[in-house]
Chain length 404, copies 2
């Protein structure tokens, strides 16, 4: 039996923004309004930093119309942070929780944010603080354990597929080698989504490199040369997180900035794309080599979402609140897929510990044997999550008979 | 009086692709079908290269449905080229024109392509080849002389505004300095369009640097520091073509590849963004500095267009054919804007020479005095060309009263 726990609710966002993280936030807020156990609804600014600084906003003061407008806005409306609480932080946090009578705590984010939620929840148990605590899943990387996929991935994947599709059309028009660098620190799902750009034979991306397989420059050059010789062009999708056989990221040869979860900065620089382009230029006869790094656009582009992703992002926010109030004291909301041809999901509570910290990788059967492409199984997995893509077409192209 | 000139038509695309260049192409093809003077409708593959190689496709063999599907597809469906014809090329081209009885020639592109069209047209006059020759405007750079704006700009500008808007929301959530590098070799119009991303006070971009004004690193650092001190963050839009006081592009310190029109490669690398980010990191105390280079996405992203741009792109293709058949022997189709509050355009024939080669720059009154922003006059100019942008919102954000 669950007892009625009355008090205030605190919600926050953490880790990288996404196109739909505000849908989870607003889903949770709107659900909270339905439960009389929940009195104040506070939003902490920039994750747990806002708790520590006592910078919280009153979300009951937001109109329903503005809440819905925020839901449709990309990026984290409460601000976000990459911060793992220290022992001292955790103690301070509970001083503040007590002072503000926070009895419901929701933290929206990826595996690092789940770790933070877990740390805070464990501290609550230890100090016997009566408290309901849920993690709400979000990550464009799609690398949360226990989940079939995560809110944020579908929309980011749609952006990636569109960008690669456009880049492939551009590369057809002005042939050469084109390298697209895509986010994904340890998991290749988002880079793999580039494969959705293919519609017709010979459409790019022709090669896909993921963090799950060691990246060998010599093999990469040979792969590119082979495609280029066949098609006169080559489009490559490569994850920012590709690593050598020893497991050290290729990009870290240039960059050394890290956050408090120990993550190295891989995004916000074109260095990896330029490095790979330079390898092609110097080791082959190919002269036109270009690299685009999709950067922050793939997680914050406005007006572009997967409808499925948007819907599910809302639901996980709602469910976290519903479960916290009526059923369980803690956990994370996981998305599971029902077996079968037709896409259908259900949601389950999983322990915080089960999703915290660790990374889910691309399953073996989603990657081809050569380690330079995805399999049809991945496409089947990803298509319903991403939804329909823009239709593009090319000329049938009947050559005029050569004269004279 | 115009005489009836019977023969085949050849159309081609040249220079950088755009999101709407195929609309001009299909507009011209569909218009050509209405005129009995035009017999065969051929598309040259990769601009004049396809003429020289005699690689042309029969566009009458394309179904109307496929033509419309191609029209809605970004990038140059016939392939494109960056090639200025030599004297020898021009002679060879007319051997082929004669062999295939090409009497109507249309070349879709920017100022370099207009120069090519002009060279070919002058050669036709010199050798007394009976010939109608039109340039159809296209450039995301918006830098064609004689035009209020050019097809391709509105859609690319919409992409840029959306990307900067999303990047600004991301930067609000995770503060720091964000540098967005935008296409534009000599003209700042596309970079300036970043300003359309602003909705509310303190929205980015906070600084805009254009090729029209000398870029002084010291001033840039001071500007960024000033904004950062005020807002705790700073979003910068910078043109890939920014140059120092001596007129040499900042990016060319790294890149040396040129095409036959003498243009240096500025796109397809993150080097400029990384250089500027590094200047901030080393010369200030600001630690989180990120750069995104929008690259080819801004000219080839599918499913994102300005409706105005798409409509006008179609019209210039249609008009070129109509004018070539019924009225004039050569020229370019220019877009002019009627004075007045309500957006309205008309189209005029201008001599090829008037649009060839030279670049139109941002008018003085579109740039602020400090050279680090645009003026309201620019926003008024650009808004109707770009059309509505996605709606984004933020919380009213009433802080909870501090307790204890």
């Amino acid at each position: 039996m669950t007892q009625l726990l009355k008090g205030n609710m605190l919600i926050a966002q953490s880790g990288g923004p996404s196109m739909v993280i505000n849908r989870s936030l607003v889903g949770a807020i709107q659900e909270a309004k339905k439960h009389k156990e929940i009195e104040g609804i506070y939003g902490s600014l920039h994750g747990i930093k806002g708790v520590l600084d006592e910078k919280m906003i009153d979300l009951r003061k937001e109109t329903a119309a503005n809440l819905e407008a925020v839901a449709a806005t990309p990026s984290s409306a409460l601000g976000t942070v990459r911060k793992k609480p220290t022992e001292e932080d955790s103690l301070k946090i509970f001083g503040i929780m007590l002072k503000y009578n926070i009895r419901y705590f929701f933290y929206i984010g990826g595996n690092d944010s789940a770790e933070t939620t877990h740390i805070i929840n464990e501290k609550a148990r230890k100090i016997n603080y009566d408290f309901r605590c849920f993690h709400i899943p979000k990550t464009i990387d799609n690398d949360l354990l226990e989940n079939d996929h995560t809110p944020g991935f579908g929309s980011a994947a749609k952006f990636v597929a569109c960008a690669v599709m456009g880049g492939d059309l551009d590369n057809r028009a002005l042939p050469g080698v084109k390298i697209d660098v895509i986010m994904g620190r340890h998991a290749g799902f988002l880079t793999a989504a580039a494969a959705l750009a293919r519609v017709n034979p010979n459409d790019g991306p022709h090669l896909i490199y993921l963090p799950e397989r060691p990246f060998v420059v010599k093999q990469f050059i040979e792969d590119v040369k082979r495609v280029y010789e066949k098609l006169g062009r080559c489009v490559v999708a490569v994850s920012e997180g590709i690593s050598d056989a020893e497991g050290s990221a290729i990009a870290t040869k240039f960059i050394t900035e890290t956050d408090s979860h120990g993550n190295v900065q891989l995004s916000g620089t074109g260095a990896l794309g330029d490095l790979l382009a330079n390898e092609i230029k110097t080791q082959t006869q190919i002269t036109r080599v270009r690299a685009d790094t999709f950067g922050y656009l793939q997680r914050s582009f406005p007006g572009l979402i997967s409808e499925t992703d948007a819907r599910e992002a809302r639901i996980v926010g709602e469910l976290a609140v519903r479960w916290a109030v009526s059923k369980d004291s803690d956990g994370s909301v996981a998305i599971r897929r029902k077996p079968g041809k037709k896409y259908s999901v259900f949601f389950e509570r999983v322990p915080l510990k089960a999703v915290a910290k660790s990374t889910r990788h691309m399953p073996e059967d989603f990657i081809n044997k050569a380690g330079n492409d995805v399999t049809p199984a991945f496409l089947e997995y990803a298509r319903p999550i991403v939804g329909p893509l823009p239709k593009v077409a090319s000329f049938k192209g009947v050559l005029t008979p050569r004269m004279g």
